[in-house]
């Protein structure tokens, strides 16, 4: 890796949505397509101001649905463009069909998601149910803890997605309202070219392949340009579908290497680093009780860990930053010697043995001969507040489980009227 000099940054007051819009402004995608389904975020409102003011040369398409938003960026990315969209909740659910197509066509799209509850009842407040509904689509999924990380993750996501070892779409998730609507101090690059030219290396680089003895760009190119026209999105039957799915999976499991590299390079540019890019530990090494979470609640749990540490509890925190591909090895390494692991899931278990993050964590730890006790706390559904006191009660309970005073359970709900 080349030596990277730290870039000049400026301090701004931005909410999470604005942080996304500023990141997109600094990246200057070729195409942004979006639709304001309920619930809508102000991401594309801010971004369309950058378009209207001539600060970006992006083609902004106000499509007629979220399904078309993702379909249009699929077309844009297939044409070799750098493409971006944003959505949440119902919009993400409506995109579901095309999520799978975007990933399997190996298109490096970036999508910001202010995670919110799914209907019914219609709610619009923070909840990871929307992204959990989309977690099997073969995308890379990164969770941000605050507005700063939202800005950083969007920029990093383009570099990860477009890396030729990866070529996959990336979801940058952050809790609706708690991050999307809360203003925070955010450092942004002073010079847009640090992002566009220095970090991303100019326009998207299109991979080339040998086809019929000729060098061909892997993009929809007209005959005036390409020696061999491509057929993209063909019918793929029993004799090849499996192999193509395997290539998709290989790329996904290769992504952590790139995510780690990008995290390091970005750290040199900004001074900000998010663990190893996949997970981040907080006071975890000597802890007996480990908390595991994703998104905004990680910030609250840092405070909870500090408070409980002061009271003598040996508690620490593992933040999952990259949720897909799931960092199985890192989770095992971080949690292998813990007595009790408490997973915090902002999504309903929907009939499974526990909520989604819990399933991944417990499955990863099953490989160990001596396994920690793993329990799941389902919290904050539909935007229900998860204040420190509530989480402290959970830590107290985890402590009692570690002492054998409370019988372990698979999952229970926090902060709900039962």
């Amino acid at each position: 890796m080349a030596e990277v000099e730290k870039a000049e940054q400026i301090e701004m007051l931005l909410n999470g949505d604005e942080a996304v819009a500023w990141a997109a402004y600094h990246v200057e995608p070729d195409v942004v397509a979006a639709y304001p389904i309920t619930p809508q975020t102000i991401i594309v409102e801010r971004f369309s101001e950058f378009v209207a003011d001539g600060l970006v040369r992006t083609e902004f398409i106000s499509v007629e649905s979220e399904h078309s938003a993702l379909s249009a960026v699929v077309g844009a990315a297939a044409a070799g463009g750098r493409a971006f969209t944003a959505t949440a909740s119902q919009g993400l659910a409506l995109m579901n069909e095309i999520l799978h197509i975007a990933a399997a066509l190996r298109l490096p799209i970036v999508m910001a998601i202010a995670t919110r509850a799914l209907s019914a009842p219609i709610n619009i407040h923070p909840d990871h149910g929307d992204i959990m509904n989309s977690r099997e689509a073969g995308w890379i999924i990164m969770f941000a803890e605050n507005a700063q990380e939202v800005y950083d993750n969007v920029i990093q996501a383009f570099k990860i997605a477009e890396d030729h070892r990866v070529l996959l779409p990336v979801m940058v998730a952050f809790d609706g309202f708690v991050i999307s609507h809360t203003a925070e101090k955010v450092y942004v690059f002073k010079d847009v070219n640090v992002v566009r030219e220095k970090f991303l290396g100019g326009p998207r680089k299109i991979p080339k392949i040998k086809l019929m003895g000729k060098e061909v760009e892997l993009a929809l190119r007209p005959l005036s340009y390409t020696p061999v026209p491509l057929t993209i999105g063909p019918l793929d039957l029993t004799d090849f579908y499996f192999e193509h799915k395997l290539q998709h999976m290989d790329a996904l499991y290769r992504a952590p290497e790139v995510i780690k590299e990008v995290n390091e390079e970005y750290a040199k540019l900004t001074g900000r680093k998010y663990g190893n890019g996949l997970v981040e530990k907080y006071k975890l090494d000597d802890a007996e009780i480990a908390l595991v979470a994703m998104g905004a609640t990680v910030g609250t749990l840092r405070y909870v860990v500090d408070v409980m540490r002061d009271e003598g509890y040996k508690v620490g925190l593992l933040k999952i930053r990259t949720y897909r591909p799931f960092p199985t090895e890192d989770v095992i390494e971080a949690l292998k010697d813990k007595k009790v692991v408490g997973v915090f899931d902002r999504a309903a278990p929907n009939g499974a043995a526990g909520a989604p993050l819990f399933l991944d964590i417990r499955s990863a730890l099953y490989e160990l001969e001596k396994r920690p006790i793993v329990v799941d706390y389902v919290y904050g559904l539909g935007g229900r507040d998860a204040p420190p006191e509530l989480l402290e009660d959970a830590v107290e309970e985890l402590y009692r489980i570690s002492k054998g005073e409370v019988k372990p359970f698979r999952f229970r709900y926090l902060g709900v009227r039962e």
Partner: protein, 327 residues
């Protein structure tokens, strides 16, 4: 006024051009869809700057079975309902890349070939959005009037009384009980698209409309009737004849809408029929060749239904003549 700009090619010139859709595809014997694709693409002055998009459908699955493809032009399929949105994104990407100086050529002309299901039903929203936003994209509807790819289920484009696998001709219900959705009028109502209907038999009329759509700097929509031997149940040699009869009976009249002059114009042989209504053939001539309408003739002749169809066709025809200022 939407103009031709170049002289339409002669049939000899068309035949001599290399095929944009190569042989070896698995469309059914007697299918008229490949002929539509070839006629449209060969009518163009050049294929150098063209990108083709197709929604899911017969044409898509039968021409692109991996590792083979019949497409000698760049081609993309995304899903069933989103060809228009996908094409919008492709066009937008080239516009941005050109603005940034990354793409040195012209923005390619995007051409969509979509069946009636992916256009009239599930794809209508994306298509309407594409037209409203004014993308420079040609949309060619090959209308075989049912979901032929999935086994002949009824679509919004299936005509009244046609038997399909989901609107079978039963003892009580005689096939589809609703009328066909007037997709081309819906497209014309957007007011900013060049819209035309077309028939393979009247190929000169078709070719002129293709060129107008090609040169029009905005959305265009051409609705070609596409007889399907499997779905309409006729022998493989009758496809082109049916594209003629569809026009000659006024079931599928030839017309165009010019978004610049706001004029509807009846074209080709239909313009002749407007002047010589006595030459209009009875719908029965069209219906009787198709097995999907067999129950109108056997075991008992349903004069009531045949008359209902005839009356509706003439009602729609006179409505068109009024739109075109001919009545």
């Amino acid at each position: 006024m939407v103009k031709l700009k170049t002289k339409p090619p002669t049939i000899y010139e068309i035949v001599k051009k290399p095929d944009p859709l190569l042989s070896g595809h698995r469309m059914c014997a007697g299918c008229t869809a490949p002929a539509i694709v070839k006629l449209v693409l060969k009518a163009l002055p050049s294929l150098d700057n063209v990108i083709v998009v197709s929604p899911t459908g017969c044409l898509e699955v039968a021409t692109t079975i991996f590792p083979y493809t019949s497409w000698a032009v760049p081609w993309m399929h995304n899903a069933f309902e989103n060809a228009a949105a996908t094409a919008s994104g492709i066009e937008a990407a080239y516009k941005a890349l050109k603005k940034k100086g990354v793409w040195g050529g012209e923005v390619p002309k995007i051409i969509i070939f979509g069946g009636d299901g992916g256009t009239v039903d599930i794809g209508l929203q994306a298509l309407s959005g594409m037209v409203e936003r004014g993308h420079n994209i040609m949309y060619i509807l090959y209308d075989n009037e049912a979901y032929m790819n999935t086994g002949i289920q009824r679509s919004g484009s299936t005509p009244f009384a046609a038997a399909t696998t989901t609107s079978p001709a039963g003892k009580v219900i005689p096939g589809k009980i609703e009328w066909k959705k007037p997709i081309s009028l819906i497209m014309a109502a957007h007011m900013n698209a060049y819209v035309a209907t077309a028939s393979l038999y009247y190929w000169q009329d078709f070719v002129q409309k293709v060129l107008k759509a090609y040169y029009y700097e905005g959305p265009s929509f051409i609705h070609a009737i596409q007889p399907c031997s499997r779905g309409w149940r006729f022998t493989e040699d009758l496809g082109i004849k049916l594209t003629k009869l569809a026009v000659d009976t006024c079931v599928h009249p030839l017309w165009e809408f010019d978004p610049e002059t706001r004029e509807f114009k009846v074209t080709g042989y239909s313009a002749f029929l407007a002047k010589h209504p006595e030459k209009i053939l009875p719908v029965e001539e069209y219906l009787k060749l198709q097995g999907r309408f067999r129950h109108l003739f056997k075991p008992v002749r349903r004069d009531d239904l045949i008359k209902e169809i005839q009356d509706r066709v003439m009602k729609d025809w006179h409505f068109l003549l009024k739109l075109a200022g001919l009545e």
